[in-house]
């Protein structure tokens, strides 16, 4: 697999559909890193333009990769070694391109169905498992900004449970989606 994941903190929406840069949730970095390690993801990008948030994220990574945390819990080190902090989505896309020597398919996730460029789990799973480079984007706060959905090549179908209720946390949504796309 040549499969990458990005957690976007800007541009995303707040509760009032305003464009914001969200704060980093340290626990999300851990959960996404552990999921990435579990499902064979090659790299996980934490994307934020806010310098203090980049510093915070890098401090967490240092603690677990080379600081005290590395001895305390080596499993965490393995997972967090997959994380890169980048200041923009375009920079993350460029890093994936450099690493793969190829342009990755950009796929956004959203809680709503995007009729135009919707992609099914089955179709994306096929691409992922046939080693196409794929960069899958998740939005924090109230979700990815329309500009990101537009920039993406496709938007993955929303998760449908059994109740029509569609308000999962981004970390649990990512868990379900990565299992559907890359689980055995």
């Amino acid at each position: 697999m040549r499969f990458y994941v990005g957690l976007v903190h800007f541009p995303v929406y707040n509760k009032h559909q305003e464009t914001i840069a969200s704060a980093i949730t340290p626990l999300d970095i851990h959960d996404f890193a552990r999921l990435s390690k579990t499902y064979g993801i090659k790299g996980f990008f934490v994307i934020t333009p806010l310098e203090d948030q980049q510093v915070l994220a890098n401090r967490i990574l240092r603690h677990w990769i080379s600081g005290y945390g590395a001895q305390y819990n080596r499993h965490r080190k393995e997972a967090l070694s997959l994380v890169s902090v980048t200041s923009s989505l375009n920079m993350a896309i460029e890093k994936v391109r450099e690493r793969e020597g190829d342009t990755a398919l950009i796929v956004a996730t959203d809680a709503a169905m995007q009729e135009n460029r919707a992609m099914s789990y089955e179709a994306l799973r096929g691409l992922v498992l046939s080693d196409e480079p794929v960069f899958l984007l998740f939005g924090t706060a109230w979700g990815l900004h329309e500009d990101v959905l537009q920039q993406a090549d496709h938007v993955l179908d929303p998760i449908s449970g059994r109740s029509g209720y569609n308000h999962l946390s981004v970390r649990t949504a990512a868990a379900i989606i990565l299992d559907r796309l890359a689980g055995r």
Copy 2:
């Protein structure tokens, strides 16, 4: 479906394989409640014998069900209305029995394969979707105590990703497992 979920805070193991009662993680209550609502779970039990932790959990529930949070985010209210705080696993089992008029199949989850009483996702999904009463247990901290595994009728197969790495957070593991058992 007659499907229930429990998050066990005692008895569980700590990092040193000692038996402990773990502290409640408020975020886990939210994530499990939202997952439960998404996947049509009838009730989610937060199981802890520690009275201060019961008080904390009930304070969170009140805030979101009848306090300020209920107006702030009605989706959260819908999800958290599924949560009950109980002081022991046996009490939770009894509440499920009272509600269903029938004894539920108790299925534990564990990060390791339990050869004796292992149950596959396919087998358990079949039971869940045929409306058998099922009570699925997740352990906090370093996992469910051996006594709970023994008390359960079955132990669900561990999640296998692609890498042999098997160190997910309980909330992301629950997301994957509920999607496998009750997702469409």
